[in-house]
């Protein structure tokens, strides 16, 4: 039951790893839960959950696992019981089992947790979109939500690769984007300014002034130079965007590697932007954030880059309740949300993975082109988009 809690939390989307779990075990070992379910709840929540946005998911998982448990809990015992039951280890190889059997109580637990740590971290490491997935000996089923499966070693392929092959068999290899080239194009996302307090000692200036001052020390200060650029990336995922997975993921990789930005945030949508944006490409409802919140939180200095093919049914853009997912229909039109974004931020561009001649064929692309300056998702296009974001003010 106890270890189920861990998996249940992960299934609910609470981002916990073994680090947090071990911390909880540590706390339990110290007896901090005081044999009370309520205190155990408080304790596990403050140790495992690091953002209030996951409280709800935590509650759901907690309810599912501990429903019917009342009064006192003796978790350590239960955990040890679980670890002692060989049935739970049937997926281990003989070698590993022999190793486990040679270990005793505490050591066993530690060892098991280590194995767990290795696996979860490998899976976590390979962010779904950014192709960094390491070679994992445990790489069965790249999209297994918990990422824990003790299995045979030596697959020698990253979990990412597996996911990619399954989903995008027909992806195009037109090589519109090369990561290095993209990075170069993005390097111009710079707004170096000397703003803020003058707290950097200007050595050259100090020497000059001191010389002019006949050797009397005269300090000169200036503000530090720093990149003041904040970038918000909004991405269309799924459906007609699937064939463009490759160029889009390259753009994302390059942006994630771009350390120089003052701030960078990415959100996802399907076809058009409405009341909510997804935190990741899976667009889970429970992880969605209200678009309005985003507009309040980010001020107009943020530069916006929207990536999408702008191709959808006209009603999705121009009619109320346009969301293709009927459960999320709302009276505000998609086009109005696009206008709100345009009005809120000083600069926004649209990057379209479709070749430019195709744009005029889609009615919605023609409409969106009138709202945002549209560029092709290619090295040249990104370069032009960057100019539009930081160059002379648009009219």
């Amino acid at each position: 039951m106890f270890i189920d809690f861990f998996y249940e939390l992960r299934d609910e989307g609470v981002p916990i790893g073994t680090h947090e779990w071990l911390l909880l075990l540590d706390a339990l070992a110290k007896g901090l839960h005081g044999s009370s379910l309520q205190r155990f709840y408080n304790l596990s929540r403050c140790v495992l959950v690091k953002s209030e946005t996951y409280f709800d998911a935590f509650d759901r998982a907690f309810l599912k696992v501990f429903e019917g448990v009342e009064g006192s809990l003796d978790i350590e015992d239960e955990l040890l019981e679980w670890l002692k039951d060989p049935k739970n280890f049937r997926e281990l190889t003989d070698e590993e089992r022999a190793m486990l059997e040679s270990l005793t109580g505490d050591e066993l637990m530690r060892k098991f947790m280590e194995t767990l740590a290795e696996q979860t971290e490998r899976h976590d490491g390979g962010g779904r979109w950014v192709g960094t997935g390491g070679r994992s000996p445990y790489g069965h089923g790249g999209e297994h939500p918990t990422g824990i499966r003790v299995g045979g070693p030596g697959k020698n392929r990253s979990a990412m690769k597996v996911a990619e092959e399954r989903r995008f068999e027909d992806y195009r290899t037109d090589g519109t984007l090369d990561i290095r080239q993209t990075r170069v194009a993005l390097r111009r996302l710079r707004q170096l300014t000397r703003t803020g307090p003058q707290n950097e000692l200007d050595i050259d200036g100090t020497i000059d002034e001191t010389c002019k001052n006949a050797g009397e020390i005269e300090f000169v200060f200036r503000a530090e130079r720093r990149n003041d650029l904040r970038l918000l990336l909004l991405m269309d995922v799924g459906g007609t965007m699937d064939p463009y997975f490759e160029p889009v993921s390259r753009l994302l990789t390059a942006l994630h590697e771009e350390r120089g930005l003052r701030a960078f945030e990415a959100f996802y949508f399907h076809n058009c932007i409405y009341e909510q944006l997804g935190r990741n490409a899976r667009l889970l409802q429970r992880e969605a954030i209200p678009t309005g919140d985003l507009l309040r939180r980010l001020d107009s200095r943020w530069k916006v880059m929207i990536v999408g093919d702008a191709a959808m049914h006209p009603a999705e853009l121009l009619e109320p309740n346009g969301n293709i997912d009927p459960r999320r229909g709302t009276p505000t039109r998609g086009l109005d949300w696009l206008h709100r974004i345009k009005d809120h931020f000083e600069r926004a561009v649209w990057l379209n993975p479709e070749p430019q001649p195709e744009w005029s064929r889609s009615q919605t692309a023609r409409v969106i082109e009138r709202v945002f300056p549209m560029f092709h998702l290619s090295v040249d296009g990104i370069s032009d988009a960057v100019s539009a974001l930081i160059g002379a003010r648009r009219q």
Binding site: P15, G17, H19, E20, L23, D26, A27, K30, G31, L32, G34, S35, S36, Q38, R39, N42, L43, R45, C46, V47, V49, K50, S51, E52, F55, G196, P197, N199, L201, E216, I217, F219, R262, A263, E265, P290, G292, R296, R297
Partner: protein, 299 residues
């Protein structure tokens, strides 16, 4: 929860139980004690005006420890919390032949974190509004918070905490904090006070307020907070100010039933005031009872 109280507790736990001036929820008490027992920093989040900074003060008071405060600004660097090397003073002294210029140590001043480490007694270290600083700021403090030691690079001296301070970090949620940093913290979120708790809080500040008036005031207040168009939702402190203004102006219950007078005390953003103006132009009206606010406030 009432059944907590009877639960047996170990010595390591339950050292903090709140103070007279600060009513802490059970979840908060557990989080504080958990952070103490596990020797982890305690990260407190919550809307502005929910008493995050005050908590550190009262934890220190409750534990009988001195407090070291480090208020973070947008320009604060991690280094400044550890120590500051005063180059300018040293150059100046060299010029005028004052002070012991050859002794670098004389020009090294400890920051709040450095002072907490050097102190012979255990201290509470408050890192206030950590989200104000640069995105990388929390990452720069990982090692110091983990190992409770740092090196003064100018002198190669190592400063090791004599007594591991209890670290309390507050955040207003203005920026996402890095995962590596979060992983090390014990987290607690101070929820916005609900209707009942808010009545208690108001009672502390305005003990002679009429019940009817308070009810109207709170209906308007929570209604405003529900409006998603507002950029800055009014917080507790603004409510307290607003009530003070209402009382001084001698306004009656009837006056605020259909109106929100002295809106400036609640809304601090020009665009928010405009948005509310537009709402009225469109013929929107303000609610005058809890029933208008939906099921959330009516159980």
């Amino acid at each position: 929860m009432a059944n907590d109280k009877a639960a047996p507790t170990s010595d390591a736990f339950n050292r903090f139980t709140g103070t007279q001036g600060y009513i802490a929820s059970h979840a908060l008490v557990d989080a504080v004690n958990c952070a103490i027992a596990l020797e982890r920093p305690l990260l407190i989040k919550g809307e502005p005006g929910t008493g995050k900074t005050l908590l550190a003060q009262h934890v220190a008071e409750g534990l009988g420890l001195a407090i070291e405060k480090w208020h973070i600004k947008s320009t604060t660097k991690a280094q400044e919390g550890l120590y500051i090397y005063d180059t300018v003073q040293r150059l100046n002294d060299a010029r005028f032949g004052e002070g012991d210029v050859s002794n670098i140590r004389a020009y090294i001043r400890m920051g709040p974190m450095g002072r907490a480490f050097q102190s012979d007694d255990r201290k509470v270290l408050l890192i206030d509004e950590v989200d104000k600083a640069d995105v990388e700021f929390p990452n720069d403090l990982l090692r110091e918070l983990d190992e409770m030691r740092f090196t003064v690079s100018e002198t190669s001296d190592e400063v090791v905490a004599k007594q591991r301070p209890m670290v309390i970090i507050t955040s207003n949620n203005e920026k996402e904090l890095p995962d590596a940093f979060l992983r090390r913290c014990v987290f607690h979120f101070i929820e916005f006070p609900d209707k009942a708790l808010m009545q208690q809080i108001v009672a502390v500040h305005h003990p002679h307020l009429k019940t009817q008036l308070l009810d109207q005031v709170l209906v308007k207040f929570y209604w405003l907070r529900e409006q998603s168009e507002l950029r800055k939702k009014p917080s507790t402190s603004e409510l307290i100010d607003w009530i003070a203004v209402l009382q001084r102006s001698g306004i009656s219950v009837a006056d605020i039933e259909a109106n929100i007078p002295f809106l400036g005390a609640l809304l601090k953003n020009e665009k928010d005031t405009e948005a509310l103006g537009k709402y009225q132009e469109r013929g929107g009206r303000y609610p005058s009872s809890w029933k208008d606010l939906g099921p959330k406030f009516n159980n």
